[in-house]
Amino acid sequence: MPDDRQDIPDDRLNYDALLYAGNELDRDAAELFEERLATDQAARDALANAMQLTLLVAGRPTKPDPQYREEVRSRFSHPSWWGRFWKPRIRRGPALAWVAVGGIAASVAIACWPIQPLPSPVTEPVVIEVVERLPEPTIEAVVPIAVPTEQVADATPIPTPMGDMTSDAAAMWEEMSNSDHLQRVQEEELRRRAARDRVRRPDTNTGAGRVLGSTRGER
């Protein structure tokens, strides 16, 4: 019978566990036992065993309410497919997911980007036809850049490009919607004005209406 035998360390541990579970250890002994519980697995097992036996004999539930499992599961449950992108998994960062998301987004953006339709080959000849019919003004025809000195000195009015063109051609130019042609006309006009300014630059020394060309001609 266990009544007569000496306490051995294991028994002492079991007795302390029984006393601790029953809150029958004095404060110092209880603190010592708790220090042991912090690190000693044998003491932990002894306490758990004492409680299990007590619960069994007392007719109390020996297992916890399983509701706690739901709470734990919900913390570690695997998220839905979209949740995987937001919730970092154990030992898996979301970096790979973000890379995939970035790739998909880039692909979608490229696929849906509004691309300007190329000019159809049907409209091209029409434009060319119109251009060919028009008298394409050249630099020489529009503005005589190298104007003869005498002509400048006589202050002969400089012919404008519109002066050489018929009213029909002007109307066609006006109706043209091709931006290249419009731009070209604009450039020609600017060039013409620049040439006229060069010819008619006023003499700042005398205040007279001398022109560069005349000075150059005197030399």
């Binding site: 007795y15 932990r44 758990a48 004999v57 007392a58 570690f76």
Partner: protein, 181 residues
Amino acid sequence: MPGLTDSELLIRFRAGDECALELLFERYEAPLYHFLLGMLRNHHQAEDALQETFIKALEKTGNVQPDKFKSWLFTVAFREAMLLKRKQKRDPHQAIDAADMTADLGPSAEDGLLQGEQIHQMRQLLEMLPPAQREVIRARIYEGKRYREIAATQGCPVNTTLARMHEGLKRLRSLWEQHHA
């Protein structure tokens, strides 16, 4: 799958196997719950602490050696229990009546037919124990007496009373397992 080691279960759990989590519950919830109940003496607090223990322990499994998982679980459980005990000390309204050991151990036998049947069977098995052991268990668990009182009544040292209690409980468990085998 039940034959898997803790290491294997942890690897599976980290890989997203939810069955591994269930097996970890099955393996450790009872000893952890008993340990926490022994420390806190309140089954509501023990269940709360058990939940937090699993959550905190499993969140940091990356830092734990799988072969020391059981020890890690109990360490986390101990810390949780100590936190609650300190809160109890600060708030006297939450302090439990420690003198009545069985007061907060869970639903009593009267709360359910199954438990009523369990306690009836247990009392029958109790009759099969040696009288000294039977008397200690009856006085302690069913009458709520302290060990010192029982020792004084029986005229023996407290350690003898504790030994009778411990041996009697072990024997009862053995008989219970045989009965339900």
